[in-house]
Assembly symmetry: D2
Homo-oligomer: 284 residues x 4
């Protein structure tokens, strides 16, 4: 049987904690009950934290507000690292002019705006402007007509040899109703990659670039070693795989994608081994 550890005991051994968001801090019902205590304890103990999330649907500011409205006021927007920020950094560094076409909501598109670039939904691309499209970004599964715009994406990428960026590598996300899921933009991206035989640029855990982004932000403020950082997540393939590969110790919590009854089987069948397993990230 799998050995369960006490989250508080583990927390005490690290200086900085990286949290996944969905399934760790919140779920479809709202906040994970008691999670405020974890943030209070970290403040008291002078632990630093970052939230490292594959959610590219809103800006860090928008994400922080969603925690505040749920009653978790301790979360600061400058401690939220989203895969959307990596997409934005890519555009800033690599695309200098023309149109960036996107799939997603207006909200998701807003914060990838970059100087010199014109951001347009895929639905607004036509024969008069397609030649100016210099990048295509897949941000969110909502905000567009799937039939029209997914077919359009396939044809844009057949005509234009441009980078396609995926800002969320997840295949599905849980729906607010309960045990139903919704197809995420990462799942849609895989379909289009398969159809075209092309490789998209994917940002998001388990990729190291997410962790590096947070790690760089910390090091601007203080010296730190990877041995002092703990990654906490509910998903083996993203949070634990990514944290391990980056060289961090990892905690699998059982409040989200990995159910208590499945944890042991999944760890064994995937070969992705967290340093610790805890029932929850709540300190009580």
């Amino acid at each position: 049987m799998i050995q369960l550890d006490n989250f508080k005991n583990i927390l005490d051994r690290y200086k900085i904690i990286f949290f996944d968001a969905f399934g760790v801090l919140k779920n479809y019902k709202g906040l994970v009950p008691g999670i405020e205590q974890t943030f209070a304890y970290m403040q008291e103990q002078q632990k630093e934290y970052y939230i490292v999330t594959n959610d590219a649907s809103r800006s860090p500011m928008g994400l922080a507000e969603s925690y505040h409205s749920l009653g978790l006021h301790a979360v600061k927007h400058d401690r939220i690292i989203s895969s959307g920020m990596l997409a934005k950094e890519y555009l800033d560094l690599k695309v200098n002019s023309g149109i960036v076409a996107y799939l997603g909501t207006l909200n998701s598109a807003h914060y990838i705006d970059s100087s010199g670039l014109h951001t347009l939904p895929v639905s607004a691309i036509n024969s008069t402007n397609i030649d100016q499209v210099n990048a295509l970004v897949l941000l969110d599964d909502e905000g567009f007509n799937w039939f029209d715009d997914l077919n359009k994406v396939v044809n844009i990428l057949r005509k234009r040899t441009i980078p396609a960026i995926v800002a969320n590598t997840d295949n599905t996300y849980p729906l607010s109703g309960g045990n139903e899921v919704s197809i995420a933009i990462g799942g849609i991206a895989s379909m289009i990659e398969g159809i075209l035989g092309k490789r998209f640029i994917r940002f998001g855990k388990p990729d190291s670039q997410m962790f590096m982004f947070a790690y760089d932000l910390i090091r601007e403020r203080m010296p730190v070693s990877k041995k002092e950082i703990l990654m906490v997540g509910d998903t083996l393939h993203t949070d634990i795989m990514g944290g391990n590969k980056f060289g961090l110790d990892t905690v699998l919590v059982l409040t989200g994608n990995t159910l208590p009854d499945d944890a042991e089987t999944r760890i064994r069948s995937t070969g992705i081994v967290p340093t610790y397993v805890c029932t929850t990230a709540v300190v009580d």
Copy 2:
């Protein structure tokens, strides 16, 4: 350089010809010009033919009518083998009661109707009837709302351990406009398989079952050896791969998916080698 053969000379050596439909007999503009002559020549020479197609959007009767309306009256409905017929055979043999949910048009659903089964679009599945759904068939990319119904399919297959059948394995099909394509139901099926980690039952070339179905129909009427059958197609991965594997001699024609300039490179890079390459299936 690739050696091009004369189609008439090749035809003369075989007793029965299997044709792929799209890219061989017709394309987005209508009939391949002159293809009537091939059918006239086959009749004159007492060659038998079958059309072996991954098109599950209509019944063989409906497909035959579409040739007639284009002016090719020689095509008989009982010589058309579609992947949809295999889906229907599967339901007849393996599903005895309850609801068959489907993605596709009413036309595509009509001919999979099977005695004792109730055929319903995925959009009509809800909490009151989901427990009676005993199979799910992916027939066509049209006739439903992608966002609503693809998400619904994912959740139906998470709740019900039932067979999911794909009646068309193609990823895309050419659009009538010219050099644009549309995502086919086979591409959508791959996305859902990837998301769920499940294996669907796929009917359609290159799978042998398509060829076997036609081969069985011939043998009911006359004795025949595989050496006497020629498969003619425009796509290496489906027509040529499937024909070769079934043990047939194969002709790649260059009026569809494989362009004259690409044929040699594609044969070499895929390792899928047709017995012959001809510019067209037209006998002149």
Copy 3:
């Protein structure tokens, strides 16, 4: 909980039984204890049987002898259908001259010998004869030096655009010692396909061609409907998937790859649903 059925009751309802070999009739220790009774009962009840196996390491004659030496004398060689027989049929129909290079033992190569072809191990291919190699067959994981000959296969297939045939699609097989496995030629084939980006011609369950081969042999002797045939196997991805797709009723037995404790989880997670589940294929 999964419902377990009595194998004898099921057997009584069918006229012809297809058996997988390994994990159903025999395992690493020898015969499945009591399996002789099943063959005695079938003879008494005038049921016909075929053994449908992905074992291409020996001829049907050699496979039958291995049952006889274990004490199961009822197995006749003309009732054994192996994936190697399909490889042989392919060579007979499609390759008319030159050298067939192979990976495997001399035993495995012996029965693919075809008139007009010269069969040579990959190790014997060199610059003087490579231009005459017209097909490459992957038969068995033994009988060659992996480092030398796998590298040689990659380079032969880079130079020669010829069909590569895989006569056993399994990834691993159980070792006689107990709970260890050995990499099968199907796993090796996948590696080489991945490296070259080429598609090999694969024979073996779950592909329908295996079932069709047996079905054709029966129909030469008597009229039969697919509804009268039962497929019995221990592996969901090959035996059950293939049997279902071909339109047969299927029995999963728990004496091989699928353990009693895992059966329900695996059926649910793969979506491959047998018609029945029985602890064993032994009639008692």
Copy 4:
């Protein structure tokens, strides 16, 4: 047609140059003729360089010596970043005790030695020490018996739930003879992942961690922006994909894996677009 740029003109615009090794600085014949001039010019112009290579067969010291012996004395060992260094960092950070089993030569194993760990070839693992194996590292395709040790790796990973690390993600490497290749450890790793259904930890381009490692080393010595770094490589899927994703400008050179005649087709078919294309990295 693709536009070819002059390498010297491009070099002049950047402060730091990352080079891939094989196909850029050297090939199977030895050094790329004239490449010393590039290093002389960089020294003269006070450009910094790093060699970023998926070669885990030797230590940076050993790799530097191989350049010296070929006559390129400008290459310093502390400017070589290999995927093997990332494997070593992983072991230092994440594995604290026990045995690290490896596939590869003694040379490749030597530099992953880490304090507190006992490094043993896979061939030395047996029933008396398997329980102490806490990680398995795939370093090189030479130095072991493929049949024995690949089968052993499969069985070790079936018994022990431990991380498996791949220190070279390449599928093949060119052989010294000319146009032949050899299967690399990355290709072997994919086979074993496929057989086990497990995910290995892969270090090497295109993964960002390689670039980050070099980037961190630079920043310890001077402030630098990603805009001042140029990545030069011969392979789209590793060098260019990885450089682009990390936010660097990229040059594809045509002295290695990508041939002049194929460059345009490959860029279009993969969708991986270098910032520039140059015939060579030689400054003349």
